[in-house]
């Protein structure tokens, strides 16, 4: 069935209207002459619709005359008629071709080049180097060979370990920089405290530890010394005087953790008016043309009494410092309700502790590990606001390498 339809499309298909006394005669004569008819339907008691291939139309006229029927073409369908119509309207075809060409050209242009992953190397530098190999805005994407650009970038920038280039209308250059190992401690060095604190643990790989666990150290104090003196026990009593002078100098290595304490303060009123979202929100989409505002979707103005709104604007094309005076604006408004909260002492203390914790999250360094937290409520139960002090004990790396000149 589907094959027949495909054939009918390629060969074309004529729908004829047959009128006459004896259409049966017409049908019989047609198929005895080898003309293929299909989909014979009566449209009204005296009009019969027949479908035939256009190649058999000439013979069919003959048949019609002999069977005393009149035939008329009702509809022409299929590829041959389409081709004929297109041949007469050649510019339509040309336009379609031009459209395809423009689409192809514009989509093979490089519109933007994004560089990501750079840390020390400036992304502009990477962009310039890529542009030297053809990967720049305004070029065609076939002017930039992906492998070539990648190889060129890796050769020109020895600080890169990996480059991935994607060439397209939105080209991307993904870069991974080499992470060089920390400068090896060449020459003698100490490990000193970077800030004031109490030593938690100390583990010396090389060098002489000068402090014990629990010691209070000042900033800059030597923790592990690079000056290693032979200890008294292993030194021979005879040579002790000499070995005293023969101190060796090493690059001190080790891990030193310090204990630190931080304090954070949080307070909460017992009675408070709080803005709470009701969960209802609307969005307004509009286009600003010059000073005119055209709302595409959403209400004319925000239908809430109290609300929080956020606005996004997308500027259209920008060229030099000229912009089209058209922008697309999305406004989202969320309704807000004023709620009076009346907290019990426990709730308030909980809340205040939570606020102190929030401050803590911002206040201490990311690598610091909190070991212990203590909450303390200041004042008595009837105080308003309820105030809480949070004391956090953390464990942090305290040592830094500092070189010295052996004297």
């Amino acid at each position: 069935m589907i094959m027949k339809k495909i054939w009918a499309y390629f060969l074309g298909c004529l729908t004829l209207i047959v009128r006459g006394e004896k259409p049966e005669r017409f049908i019989n004569m047609a198929f005895t002459r080898g003309i293929y008819l299909w989909d014979l339907t009566w449209k009204s008691p005296d009009t019969l619709m027949v479908k035939v291939y256009p190649q058999s139309f000439k013979t069919l006229r003959h048949v019609a005359r002999q069977s005393r029927c009149r035939i008329r073409i009702h509809k022409k369908q299929g590829a041959p008629f389409l081709a004929y119509r297109l041949r007469r309207r050649r510019m339509l075809l040309v336009g379609a071709l031009i459209f395809c060409m423009i689409l192809y050209l514009l989509s093979s242009l490089i519109w933007t080049v994004d560089v990501s992953g750079t840390r020390k190397i400036s992304s502009r530098h990477v962009k310039e180097l890529a542009a030297a190999k053809g990967l720049k805005e305004g070029n065609f994407s076939f002017q930039a060979k992906r492998d070539e650009v990648e190889r060129y970038l890796l050769r020109e920038l020895p600080g890169l370990s990996y480059v991935e280039v994607k060439v397209g209308p939105r080209s991307q250059v993904k870069v991974t920089e080499k992470v060089s190992p920390p400068p090896s401690s060449q020459g003698p060095s100490h490990i000193v405290a970077k800030k004031e604190g109490v030593i938690d643990t100390i583990l010396a790989f090389s060098g002489q530890p000068l402090v014990k666990e629990g010691d209070l150290v000042r900033k800059g104090q030597v923790l592990i010394s690079g000056v290693v003196k032979p200890s008294a026990s292993e030194a021979d009593p005879k040579t002790s005087a000499q070995s005293e002078k023969k101190a060796t100098y090493v690059g001190a290595q080790g891990i030193v953790y310090g204990k630190f304490w931080y304090r954070f303060y949080g307070e909460v009123l017992r009675d408070e008016a709080v803005a709470e979202k009701t969960g209802r929100k609307t969005r307004i989409y509009c286009i600003n043309v010059g000073a005119k505002e055209i709302i595409i979707r959403g209400p004319r103005r925000i239908p809430y009494r109290y609300y929080q709104s956020e606005t996004w604007r997308t500027k259209s094309l920008r060229w030099r410092n000229k912009t089209l005076p058209v922008e697309f604006v999305t406004i989202e408004a969320e309704e807000i309700r004023q709620v009076h909260l009346r907290r019990t002492f426990e709730e308030a203390a909980e809340e205040a502790a939570g606020r102190a914790r929030e401050k803590e999250a911002k206040g201490i360094a990311a690598e610091a590990v909190a070991v212990k937290r203590r909450y303390k409520v200041i004042g008595d139960k009837n105080d308003d606001p309820v105030r809480v002090i949070l004391t956090v004990e953390t464990k942090e790396e305290i040592g830094v390498v500092r070189r010295f000149k052996p004297s």
Binding site: P23, E24, I27, N28, A30, F31, T32, G34, Y36, L37, W38, D39, L40, T41, W42, P45, L48
Partner: protein
């Protein structure tokens, strides 16, 4: 087909187990539910309206009555009828 020859052919067909429609030039009529009818070995259309189709065959006349009958295909050896078929008569 004369009676004598017809009997002989039928006997031959039975004996050799051959399809009878080939040997005896009989119409093969296939009815699919009440919506599709195929007639092979026909001899032409005698009448065609929406409610009635008469097809000439070697047996005689095949009368199809129904509603909204459509001749889907007409080949020299096969006719396909579609529509709601209500009755099928063979008139000698």
């Amino acid at each position: 087909m004369p009676g004598e020859r017809k009997k002989r052919m039928e006997y031959l067909a039975n004996y050799l187990e051959l399809p009878k429609d080939l040997l005896m030039n009989m119409p093969r009529i296939t009815l699919l539910g009440d919506m599709q009818l195929y007639v092979e070995n026909h001899r032409g259309i005698m009448e065609y309206t929406k409610e009635r189709i008469r097809i000439s065959t070697s047996l005689g006349e095949l009368l199809i009555a129904g509603e909204g009958l459509v001749l889907r295909n007409i080949f020299p050896d096969e006719i396909a009828v579609e529509g709601k078929i209500k009755s099928l008569n063979i008139l000698e």
